[in-house]
């Protein structure tokens, strides 16, 4: 009897084994999805999941977090019953405005980034960036540059210390009535960090998310809690020379890919959002020094563990000269950068090459 029982157990186990392997341990599948709904850009993700259901619940978290921060950090649109950056711009100059914990956390982080980047990435720079935004959005036939007097006047209202945060009572007030917030320089990075955090908290171990030029990955490819793998998440660095008539003959020797496992890679470039006037390129990254878009670089990419910091750094480095930028990167632990100059030169920070894969 005992023997027969054991044989049956073995037979059943033998039958279950392959089924078990297919459903859970054997084939984790990569699922991907893409959206045009958030942050005025294309966002997407890839996740290793064991079933369609697991993928669906991942997508739900991604979508709800992306939508949350898309609305919260929006400066162009207001939403019923939600205090976001647009409503702060309208109301916070007059009186204290109550905000959510989430928005307060963003503003606190934004202040830190402003300090770390020596003012080069400043969410209180909205008075200046809005003038450029209007110019960029004007019709093709009536393209114009913002008036210098207006720019100089606007620049007087960009002091981030006029953004007063009361973290105990969760209120925000502008002590400069003409100050405007613009979260564009760090918004996508911040959202990417929060989305990744929510997905990790929900138990996902292996995924890559991308919001425009902001990429964040967690775990190795196909990794689970119990099973470690060593296949890295890779990202390419876009060749920006192909986008412009005057640079398209330059051939760049870019690294084939960058290992971004458990890291974030963010690129700021002049090649996607810009307009041309009298043969000159006017892109969307406005230097706080000149109040104009600088054209020293075609793109700057930054790798590090915080996507918010990478986003803030790539924006700052784009407007800083190379030597100042290099100094900033070298003096910051865990952040590396790659600059591509208008002349087609590629410059790496000291530690960047440890991430490149050739």
């Amino acid at each position: 009897m005992a023997k027969k029982g054991l044989v049956s157990i073995l037979v059943v186990m033998g039958m279950i084994l392959p089924v078990f392997c297919f459903s859970s341990c054997g084939v984790l599948r990569a699922y991907s999805s893409g959206y045009f709904d958030y942050f005025d850009t294309y966002s997407s993700f890839t996740v290793y999941a064991s079933s369609k259901e697991e993928f669906n619940s991942f997508a739900e978290i991604f979508e709800s977090e992306a939508e949350k921060y898309h609305k919260l950090l929006n400066i162009y649109e207001k939403y019923d019953g939600l205090v976001n950056l647009a409503s702060l711009n309208d109301q916070a100059a007059g009186e204290k405005v109550e905000v959510s914990r989430e928005l307060m956390d963003f503003l606190l982080e934004a202040k830190k980034i402003e300090e770390t980047t020596h003012g080069y990435t400043n969410i209180a720079f909205g008075a200046v960036t809005s003038l450029w935004h209007e110019a960029r959005e004007s019709s093709e036939e009536e393209k114009y540059l913002p008036n210098d007097n207006e720019l100089n006047e606007a620049a007087k209202h960009t002091d981030i210390s006029c953004l007063v945060l009361d973290t105990d009572n969760l209120t925000v007030r502008f002590t400069d009535c003409d100050m405007k917030l613009d979260g564009g320089a760090i918004g996508k990075g911040y959202a990417a960090d929060r989305i990744a955090e929510a997905l990790s908290d929900a138990g996902y171990h292996s995924f890559l998310i991308s919001l425009g030029g902001n990429v964040v990955s967690r775990g190795h490819k196909g990794e689970t809690e119990r099973k470690k793998t060593d296949e890295p998440w890779l990202s390419g660095i876009e060749d920006p020379t192909a986008y412009f008539e005057h640079t398209k003959d330059i051939s760049l020797a870019l690294p084939k890919s960058v290992d971004i496992t458990d890291m974030s890679l963010v690129t700021s470039g002049s090649y996607q959002r810009y307009f041309e006037l009298d043969g000159k390129i006017y892109h969307h990254i406005i230097s706080p020094d000149s109040l104009y878009p600088e054209n020293n670089f075609l793109s700057v990419s930054v790798i590090g563990s915080s996507s918010t910091l990478c986003d803030g750094f790539s924006t700052a480095l784009f407007s800083m000269d190379l030597s100042d930028g290099k100094e900033l990167v070298e003096s910051t632990v865990g952040v590396e950068a790659i600059w591509i100059t208008v002349g087609g030169e590629i410059i790496f920070s000291e530690g960047f090459e440890s991430y490149t894969v050739s």
């Binding site: 023997k3 054991l6 073995l10 033998g14 392997c21 893409g34 045009f36 876009e238 192909a242 996607q272």
Partner: protein, 123 residues
């Protein structure tokens, strides 16, 4: 302790037949896994074109194809040529999809105004 003594006193519980059954079952599992693995890999690289987040077309990267994508948002011409895929023409204002060149496994070509993507799937 008592359990162990009992077992020692009896005949072997796992006989030769049992081992045979176990081994053959494991073998069948392994063969099945390997076969499935080959089937998945043999599918090759495909090009996936999406519009507004929905799949619009799937093409083989091994076959030269020209795909006209006409939607209410506009027109894009997707070309597969010599194992490469790119957007050759578009009536969008910024032409970023055309300028960005070929899609690779690491790079999705995107036309934001038309909500179109072209990517390579390695499955």
């Amino acid at each position: 302790m008592g359990m162990k003594k009992n077992n020692e006193g009896k005949k072997k519980i796992i006989g030769r037949t049992d081992i045979l059954i176990l081994v053959s079952l494991v073998a069948v599992s392994v063969v099945a896994l390997v076969l499935f693995g080959i089937m998945f890999n043999a599918r090759g690289k495909t090009v996936v074109v999406t519009v507004d987040g929905e799949e619009y077309a799937t093409l083989s990267l091994d076959e030269d194809t020209v795909l006209e994508v006409k939607t209410e948002r506009g027109y894009n011409l997707v070309v597969v040529e010599d194992g490469k895929v790119y957007v050759k023409e578009s009536d969008c204002p910024d032409k970023i999809c055309v300028k960005s060149g070929e899609a690779t496994e690491l790079k999705t070509v995107v036309c934001l105004p038309h909500r179109l993507t072209v990517s390579i799937n390695n499955k």
